[in-house]
Amino acid sequence: MSKKLLALTGNDAAAYAMKQINPDVVAAYPITPQTSLMEKFAQFVADGELDTEIVLVESEHSAMSACVGASCAGARVMTATSSQGLALMWEIVYIASSYRLPIVMPLVNRALSGPINIHCDHSDAMGIRDSGWIQLWAENAQEVYDNLLQAIRIAENSDILLPVAVNYDGFIISHAIENMYLYDDAEVKKFVGEYKPKYTLLDPKKPTTFGGFDLPDYYFEHRRQMADAMSKSAKVIADTAKEFSKICGREYKFIEGYKLEDAEVAIVALGSTVGTARAVVDELREKGVKAGLLKIRMFRPFPENEIADALKHLKAIAILDRADALNAVGGPLFDEIRAALYKKSTMPVVNYVYGLGGRDMGLVEINKVYSDLAEIAKTGKAKDLVTYLGVRE
C-alpha cells in the first residue's frame, strides 16, 4: 500500500479517481457544481495522461444517452452530473439501470429548481432513488475518491450489473480543499481490473438486440431481476469494501456509527453534515451528554436491518433530511428509517428538514437538534414530528 497526501477539492478527487480508472468512454455536459470535475478530467485527457474517449454532448439527456450506447457496445463508461442535469437525464437514468449497464456517475448534489439555486441539497439524488441505481454517499473528498474506485467494481460485478451514483455535497465537498490520500496508479489499476461485458452490441459473431419492446409478458420479469440484483448488491458492496481496505487501510461499511454504542440520543444523516455533527457529538460528550451519530454511506440498497440494529437501543432519534419529499409527512430518509424501525422499537423518531438550497448547517443548528432530543428522551414525547431547521419563521 502506497499513498501520497495531497490537498484537493472533492471534484479534483473525483477527476483523479476517473483518471486512474481510465474509462473507455465519458460523455458529459458541464453543470454547476460538477463543472470543475469534468474540466479537470478533460484536462487529463487533453494532456494525454489517459486514452478515454470524451463525448462532448449538447445536454445531459444526450450525455446519458451516449453513455447507454457506449455501455451497450461493451465500453467501461462514466459520466457526472448535478441537479437539473440529472433531472434532464431522468428518462435515460432509468434506461441505464434497466438495460443493466454498469455506468458509474459522480453525482454532485445540488438543489432542484425552482426557484433557481445552485447550492447543495439532496433533492437531485432523491429524485432517482427508485431508479435502480446503487447510491453511495461520501462525507468528504477522501470518501468521494474511495467510493468511486469501489463503485466500478460493484457496478461491473456479473451478479449485479447496475449503475452506481457516488453522491457528494455540492460546493461543501466539491469545491472545498481537504487533505486526502491518493493511491498508487498501479494498485488502483489492479483493483479496478478489466471490464469484460457479457453481451455487446458490436460483436458480429454474436449479434444481440438491446432495447427491445418489453410488453406485459416480459417487463415484470425484468423488473424482478433488477430487484434481485439490488438485494444481492449489498454483499458485493461489503466484499468490495473488504478488498479495498487493503489499499486504503480502512473498511467502508454500509453505515457508520460514531460514539453510538453507549449513546442515548442520536442523529442520522447523509453527506457532509455527518462531519459537522461529529464535532457536536465530541462537544456534547465532554459535557457528559450521551450523544451519538449514525452516518448512512449506502442508501441504495437500503440497509434496513443494519440501521434498525444500530439504533434500537436509543431513547430518541432525529433523522436529518437535506431534501423534503413535500409529502406533508417528512423527508425521504425519515420515511425509510421509520419503516426500518417498525416492530423493532417504539422510541420517538423525529425529522429535521435542513439545509435546502445550500442553507448552512452549522454547529449551532446541530446542537439545537441534540437539545431537542434530550427533551424528547426525558419526556418520551416529541412536540413536532417534523421540524424545518434553519428556516426563518
Binding site: 434497466s98 449479434p207 427491445g212 431481476q225
Partner: protein, 102 residues
C-alpha cells in the same frame, strides 16, 4: 413460413437480463399477425408475378419461392392492404382483402 414457437413463458430467473435478446433474427419466431381485421387472399391463377406486392410490403409477408410469389405469410402480416392496393391485375386484382374470421 416461420412457425410461431409455443413454449412456456420463462420465469424471471430464466429470462436474459436487461431485456437483451441474444438470438439474431428471432423476429421470425414472433407471431405479430394478430392485429389484423382484413387478411390478404392471393390468387395463383390471376397473379402475373410482377412482384410489386413483395417490394411494397412494409413487413416481409409476401412469400417468394424460386423467384415467384407463392403466398402470404399470415403469421407476420398486419393486414395493411398495401399489397392489394398496389396489385395491377385487371379487372379483378390477384390479391383481395377479406374480413378475418376468428
Amino acid at each position: 413460413m416461420a412457425k410461431t414457437e409455443k413454449v412456456k413463458a420463462p420465469s424471471w430467473k430464466e429470462v436474459v437480463i436487461g431485456g437483451i435478446n441474444p438470438d439474431a433474427g428471432s423476429a421470425m419466431k414472433y407471431n405479430s399477425g394478430t392485429w389484423r381485421t382484413f387478411k390478404p387472399v392471393w390468387s395463383e391463377e390471376k397473379c402475373i408475378q410482377c412482384s410489386l406486392c413483395w417490394i411494397n410490403c412494409p413487413d416481409s409477408s409476401i412469400m417468394i419461392k424460386d423467384g415467384k410469389v407463392c403466398g402470404m405469410d399470415l403469421v407476420h402480416c398486419k393486414g395493411c392492404g398495401i399489397c392489394a392496393a398496389i396489385c395491377p391485375v385487371k379487372p379483378k386484382k390477384a390479391i383481395e382483402m377479406v374480413k378475418e374470421e376468428k
